[in-house]
């Protein structure tokens, strides 16, 4: 789960990680008022989940309340397009305004889990403020890592190692070390999957300050942090994805026009690939899961077809725990409730396949049957040609 920068900074404050003074609002008038209270130069920052906001024009440093009002008004209610949003951008609904501190150096600090080591790993760089992947590619010698053994937790000497790599002298050893320790505490206590400060700056008066804050949480651990669930922003999620989630379906909207309903994430990905190889583009990823019931299938069917771009639907089910007859009942139920105007290709295999095929045959539904995946791909390709 992703959260906004202002929410991440509130959590930083709670964990003793220094951030600039500031707050978020939904109107330019409030931003103006807040700027007056802050005084001096302020940073006006659009709050959307995607990165690359600075380059996209979503961050402005201005002088005085009127300029802050103008900057906020130019962003609010409009789509912000960045390298990560896609061409349509994301509508800006909230703005963060904070005091702009003059600084003399920018650093990068990240904390995530290294899969191979099975350990949380700090990644730091004195080349902050830039795209860290670019730094990793072009100047890998400027990136330093410190892996944490979960049996001991982060050790003081590791904090000192990191501080030394960033060139922090003795004056910053203490505040730097506690910054790393606090980040690690936040990461483990709240089950984060990614923490990123880019940039962390050294101010003119020699203090460390997190100018940006990014936190992703582990979806699998949200059950033990119910308070974090409230930080989710429904506006950042596609409405169809939101609806699918309520029915326990894993649906992701894509850009094509061939809908797909599959059981199992791996097979669902492979089915998307198959559609693409047939010369078409998948409209979605939908994994109905291993233990789907007829109602979930019916909802999945309806959600896919409520996407107006969908010109055909491919159902690919390998029955294991999910039985083919259950799938068939769900499809028939959903198709009886609404008019289906696009061609459907069904490929069924596995548990109770005969019963599933019989139910579909007797339902009066019009659909094409594919005997195997190869045939399914050919039928999709034929649709594309027509």
């Amino acid at each position: 789960m992703k959260i906004h920068e202002f929410q991440a900074k509130a959590l930083f404050r709670r964990y003793g990680i220094p951030v600039p003074e500031g707050s978020a609002a939904q109107t330019a008038a409030e931003i103006k008022e807040m700027s007056r209270n802050l005084g001096g130069r302020v940073a006006v920052k659009a709050q959307i989940h995607a990165g690359g906001r600075g380059k996209g024009g979503g961050v402005k440093v201005v002088e005085g309340p009127d300029a802050a009002f103008g900057a906020a008004e130019a962003m609010l209610g409009r789509p912000l397009v960045t390298a990560q949003t896609g061409p349509l951008g994301q509508i800006v609904r909230q703005i963060l305004v904070e005091a702009a501190h003059p600084f003399k150096h920018e650093y990068y600090v990240g904390l995530t889990i290294d899969r191979t080591l099975a350990r949380p790993v700090f990644m730091v760089s004195p080349a902050g403020g830039m795209d860290i992947e670019e730094v990793a590619e072009k100047t890998p010698e400027l990136i330093f890592k410190e892996a944490v053994d979960p049996r001991t937790g982060l050790l003081p000497f590791q904090c000192r190692n990191l501080a030394a790599k960033l060139g922090w002298g003795q004056a910053l050893f203490r505040s730097g070390s506690s910054l790393f320790a606090n980040l690690y505490r936040l990461f483990t206590e709240l089950d984060a999957s990614l923490l990123e400060i880019n940039p962390l700056v050294l101010t003119e008066d020699d203090k460390l300050l997190a100018l940006d804050a990014k936190i992703n949480f582990d979806d699998n651990a949200l059950f033990r942090h119910p308070e974090l669930g409230e930080l989710a922003d429904p506006y950042e999620v596609d409405p169809l994805e939101l609806e699918a989630g309520r029915y326990g379906l894993n649906y992701i909207r894509l850009d094509g026009n061939i809908g797909a309903m599959v059981n199992g994430a791996g097979l669902a990905m492979a089915t998307m690939d198959l559609i693409k190889q047939a010369g078409a583009e998948p409209a979605n990823f939908l994994d109905v899961g291993g233990g789907a019931n007829a109602e979930m299938i019916a909802n999945g069917f309806r959600i896919i077809l409520s996407d107006e771009r969908v010109k055909a639907l491919l159902i690919n089910i390998f029955g294991g725990i999910l039985r083919c007859d259950v799938l068939a009942k769900g499809v028939i139920e959903a198709a009886s409730k609404e008019k289906v105007s696009v061609p459907i290709i069904i490929r069924l295999e596995g548990t109770n396949v005969e019963e599933g095929r019989r139910l579909l045959d007797e339902s009066g539904l019009t659909f094409a049957v594919a005997g195997d995946l190869k045939e399914a791909a050919e039928k999709v390709a034929a649709l594309v040609r027509d």
Partner: protein
């Protein structure tokens, strides 16, 4: 004939009194798996499907001599269940549970390594040595005894592949679903080492997906040491970056974890890359003939 498990493996089902645990314990018994005990805290003394249930893993092992377990415990308690099985000295532990927090798995991974336990999963279909035993949730009848090893990060995609192999007349020595999470007990590399040492495995099919770099690591190993033909497939070539494709581990982050990188590494290692899933079974048959 197989790796990790065979007809003599004695299995405990952790969470046998739950609906999933019971359902699959029954399927395993039907397949011929020696399910010797069940375990659910607070339900000791009962019998489920004629199998005695114990309160603790230590008791279950002491009373039955079990050497493996399959876990059907909800996510909040699954990490504890794995470590209990590991501490009780079981050699092979299969964790089916989906949705375990990653930081729990960080602890589990080091714990099982320290105890010398082979952990399969979590979030996996399990292991089957066709004709001998199955520790997991895969449909038994699609499998056939033979000499092709299968290792995969997915569930139903593995069934698809196995079904194609069986239809092409190619039986399997052992099929291992290693799981779709970012942190799993055994990776491709670990399983490939075992297939390499197994006389009865003559070829291996490896089913990867986007995210992480386990496939790349495995490809390096294949290039350096593997002695048998390997066939590779990667799911998720059309997946957009930054979106989690169902499995917690299947996500392209930035420039890493893409299907293209994995396919390139596989080709470089001399692995037969299968481009279209529908032709996998036939491709393996043609090549091995």
């Amino acid at each position: 004939m197989s790796i990790l498990v065979d007809k003599d493996t004695k299995v405990i089902v952790q969470g046998i009194t739950g609906s999933e645990g019971r359902f699959h314990a029954e399927r395993m018994l039907e397949y011929g798996t020696q399910v010797v005990a069940g375990m659910t805290p607070g339900k000791g003394g009962q019998e489920v499907l004629g199998v005695p249930v114990f309160d603790t893993l230590a008791e279950a092992v002491e009373q039955t001599g079990a050497n493996a377990s399959v876990i059907f415990v909800p996510p909040a308690g699954a990490a504890d269940a794995v470590m209990e099985a590991s501490a009780a000295g079981l050699g092979v532990v299969v964790c089916i549970t989906e949705g375990i927090p990653t930081l729990d798995m960080v602890k589990v991974k080091h714990f099982v390594n320290d105890h010398g336990t082979v952990l399969i999963g979590p979030n996996c279909p399990g292991i089957i040595s066709p004709g001998q035993t199955k520790l997991g949730i895969m449909p038994g009848p699609i499998h056939k005894q033979g000499s092709v090893g299968v290792v995969s990060r997915s569930g139903t995609l593995t069934y698809e592949v196995v079904d194609q192999l069986t239809r092409a007349g190619l039986g399997q020595s052992t099929c291992v679903g290693i799981g779709g999470d970012p942190i799993i007990g055994q990776n491709f590399l670990d399983i490939l080492r075992r297939f390499n040492a197994d006389d009865r495995t003559e070829a291996v099919v490896m089913i990867g997906e986007i995210g992480g770099r386990a496939e790349e690591d495995a490809a390096e190993y294949v290039k350096a040491e593997f002695k048998k033909p390997v066939f590779g497939f990667i799911a998720g070539r059309t997946a957009p970056p930054g979106r989690r494709m169902g499995h917690a581990g299947a996500i392209i982050s930035g420039k890493s974890g893409t299907a293209e990188d994995k396919l390139a590494a596989m080709r470089e290692a001399g692995i037969h890359v299968v481009e279209t899933l529908g032709e996998l079974g036939e491709t393996v048959r043609r090549t091995l003939k």
